[in-house]
């Protein structure tokens, strides 16, 4: 009897539990949705609506939320039209006024910035010197990178003017103020738990989650009248789904499509906006390696990688073969430096002349009993890197090099051990602030954090010391060119290609233009 009773009760309980699961699951489920309704602007209500699908937003990018003082969330604030910086980048990646009107270096450690007098935060508060000071003070107190970049020692505000004092000369300060972490927000309005802020941009965030941001237009925007009423930014982690959502009309524009998808949208129904960024795929030689310590080998690698073929075939033409660290649209970019082009015959001859010969006929050269084996360390986090490794493996085999690829998420641990790799290949945005100092300081100097191969050049260190103090942009550009040429001549680094960033939108979308700095996406010009 007891057993039967329990059985009844037990199964009644299980039925209740199952029902509860169903209720929990169904709670809040929305009503029906017509396919494809997401992206289209609503003609019936007269409201213009725009849905933007992107792979560039989410926890994995460390840019969730819109608080510019947290990690990379400033990118989201600026990209999606909520935040604006005092200065912004032109197409040539030169700083130009945005929320500021002008600046003047009073001396090596003081810069005076005059602000626009017609700007209001979305909270309604006027943006004046005091508000900007509050914001920058909070930035320096809380952000991980800004303090070491800008070296701000103090800020004074007076009316619509602020004066920034730096602890040491910081010629690139204005460039750093273009970084999205420098987006100006109303600190009195604060930052919500979700990371929403009151900015000065054409759009105001209504809801912010890990996967989606809903924005509506800022009726009081100082720079004109936004044309779209509602903007939804939605993250996609699968590029096939992103492509399908654009094809089905659920999103109006996309950022981050797979290379192979672009050919589907080269027609009148869509518009592709492209530009080259300073994100470069590059390798550094490990000077502690017996193979890479030989300059002939380093030079042969520079001559033996078919960069054109890599870009054309494996990246579907969506990239630009690189010579040095900066793209050609910059004053100190690829047009100002020279390096060896793809020349496998000359590379083979060079190796031959330096004692690397294929004695046993297995296709791989040897010298003093050592095989010409190059351990190529990279990571799969950026899909271009394993492709580059494969391309290099194939083309370097032709000149008698055995490239052994190790593409692993654990690359950061492995690269600490100089005996575990010969070439480390990674992706880096070399000029996120349009200034060359950052790349050399982070990657190429004797004490650089990312100089994993222990490259040493006294000349480079000296040039950097000059660059660090130089305020004249033209002189800085010349110094940067000399520095790029130095690392190329030493063959301590090789640069494969620059990322070609693309935004694909439906043909009726206007004002959605890719920018070299990768910061500006949704602007007041957006229209559908």
């Amino acid at each position: 009897m007891k057993s039967v009773k329990w059985k009844r009760n037990g199964f009644a309980l299980m039925a209740v539990a199952l029902a509860a699961m169903l209720v929990v699951a169904l709670v809040g489920c929305g009503g029906s949705q017509q396919a494809g309704q997401g992206g289209a602007s609503s003609a019936a209500s007269g409201e213009k609506r725009f849905v933007y699908g992107t792979t560039g937003y989410g926890p994995q990018m460390d840019d969730v939320g819109l608080n510019p003082h947290s990690a990379y969330s400033g990118w989201s604030a600026v990209r999606y039209g909520v935040g604006e910086t005092l200065f912004r980048f032109s197409d040539a990646m030169e700083a130009e006024p945005w929320l500021a009107t002008s600046y003047e270096f009073l001396d090596e450690t003081h810069v005076k910035i005059v602000l626009r007098d017609d700007v209001k935060f979305s909270s309604g508060r006027a943006m004046d010197g005091a508000a900007v000071k509050e914001c920058l003070d909070d930035l320096v107190a809380k952000h991980d990178r800004a303090p070491s970049n800008m070296k701000i020692a103090g800020i004074t505000a007076e009316g619509n003017t602020i004066t920034i004092q730096t602890a040491e000369p910081c010629p690139a300060l204005i460039n750093y103020l273009c970084d999205p972490y420098g987006a100006i927000i109303d600190m009195k309005a604060g930052v919500t738990a979700e990371g929403n802020v009151a900015g000065t941009g054409p759009y105001v965030a209504e809801t912010v989650t890990d996967t989606e941001i809903t924005l509506h237009k800022n009726e009081n925007y100082w720079g004109g009248k936004p044309k779209v009423d509602t903007v939804v930014v939605r993250t996609f982690s699968d590029t096939d789904a992103l492509q399908s959502a654009l094809q089905s009309g659920e999103v109006n524009a996309t950022y981050g499509l797979a290379y192979s998808s672009y050919q589907l949208f080269n027609n009148d129904a869509y518009h592709v906006s492209d530009c080259f960024t300073s994100r470069v795929f590059f390798g550094q030689a490990n000077y502690a390696s017996s193979v890479m310590g030989d300059e002939a080998v380093r030079k042969a690698i520079a001559m033996g990688i078919d960069k054109e073929g890599f870009v054309k075939t494996l990246l579907n033409g969506r990239g630009q073969p690189a010579k040095g660290p900066f793209p050609a649209n910059m004053k100190f970019g690829d047009d100002t430096v020279t390096t060896e082009g793809y020349d496998p015959k000359a590379a083979a001859k060079l190796l031959e002349e330096n004692g690397w010969v294929d004695g046993d006929g297995d296709g791989i050269r040897e010298k003093n009993g050592q095989k010409l084996t190059v351990r190529w360390l990279t990571y799969p986090g950026r899909l271009e890197l394993p492709l580059l490794a494969e391309a290099a493996q194939a083309s370097l085999k032709e000149i008698g090099m055995d490239v052994q690829v190790n593409s692993t998420a654990n690359h950061a641990d492995i690269r600490k051990d100089p005996s575990a790799w010969d070439v480390y290949v990674s992706a880096l945005t070399t000029a996120p602030t349009g200034d060359p100092e950052y790349f050399f300081g982070a990657t190429c100097l004797s004490d650089s954090t990312k100089n994993f191969g222990a490259y040493r050049s006294q000349r480079l260190d000296e040039l950097y010391a000059q660059l660090h103090k130089e305020f004249d942009p033209n002189v800085r550009a010349k110094l940067a060119t000399q520095m790029s040429q130095t690392i190329l001549d030493d063959h301590g680094y090789f640069f494969a290609s620059f990322l070609q960033m693309g935004i694909v939108s439906q043909a009726n979308v206007k004002g959605m233009v890719a920018h070299p700095c990768d910061y500006y996406e949704i602007t007041v010009d957006l229209d559908v």
Partner: protein, 321 residues
Amino acid sequence: MRRYVIRRLLQLIPILIGITLLSFGMMHLAGGDAVTALLENQGVAVTQEVIDAKKHELGLDQPFMVQYLNWFRGLVTGNMGTSFVTGKDVFQTFASKLPATILLTLTSIIATVVVALPLGIVAATRQNKFVDYLIRVLSFVGNSLPNFFVALLLIFVFAIVLGWLPVISANIGKTGVAAISWAGLVLPTATLAIAMASKYTRQIRATVLDELSKPYVEGARARGVSESRILTKSVLKSVMIMLVTLLALSIGDLLGGTAIVETIFQWDGVGKLAVDSIVMRDYPMIQAYVVWMAIIYVMVNLAADLLYHYLDPRVRLGGDE
């Protein structure tokens, strides 16, 4: 029986300790950490001081066992910690993704049973007829296709070509669980159900055929009992035991999330969360997932054992008199 249930639930304690320690150890052996993963994704160089400070903040500079014990102490006091990646409360984040996963589990299980049960029975009762061959071929094809391919195929046909259903499972503009739409539920459910129903159909067919050849069926036929009565009153009971076994395994799998389907359809469930967390070495979130999976498998297996006993009282529960 109550003692049996309590004993099974108590088994959760060593299971939890064992698998959380194992998963924690494996994540550390795999190398990498959340700080490096985040910084590499942005491709912007930061100073070693910034990296070290972040690692210290997250406790990643402490020895392995100290990290584990800190986490376990939090678990037993009801605090699963905060995500290394988002900085949000792990329990709340995980709980917010569960309803979507539970919903997809229920709909795909229901769809699977509704399709597979009649098809399996029809295929068995029409053995070696055209219908049987057709069902077997279809189930073979459905079983062979990987989930991601089925998903892309369904998207292409129903979202892009016909425009009947959305690619994105959520209502754009709405957020969280509230965003899940009925129309958006169809394709992910179908994707999961196609593979499962194909497998179930073949299993049900085989079980029904096996039962139909048993002496008690012959006897029933000899006594003039109708085929439909034999099927519904006798054969189906045996099928149910097999079905419960399959369902227990499938429900366990599905409640663990289906990362590929969730990723393709932008379904905000625990499977995608788990995969993202593993990629980013978000230890607290991974541990939450491990705990969830342990609980799910113990509970589902317990439920299956109880159901066996209910369906066939000859099946005795371990140690239960």
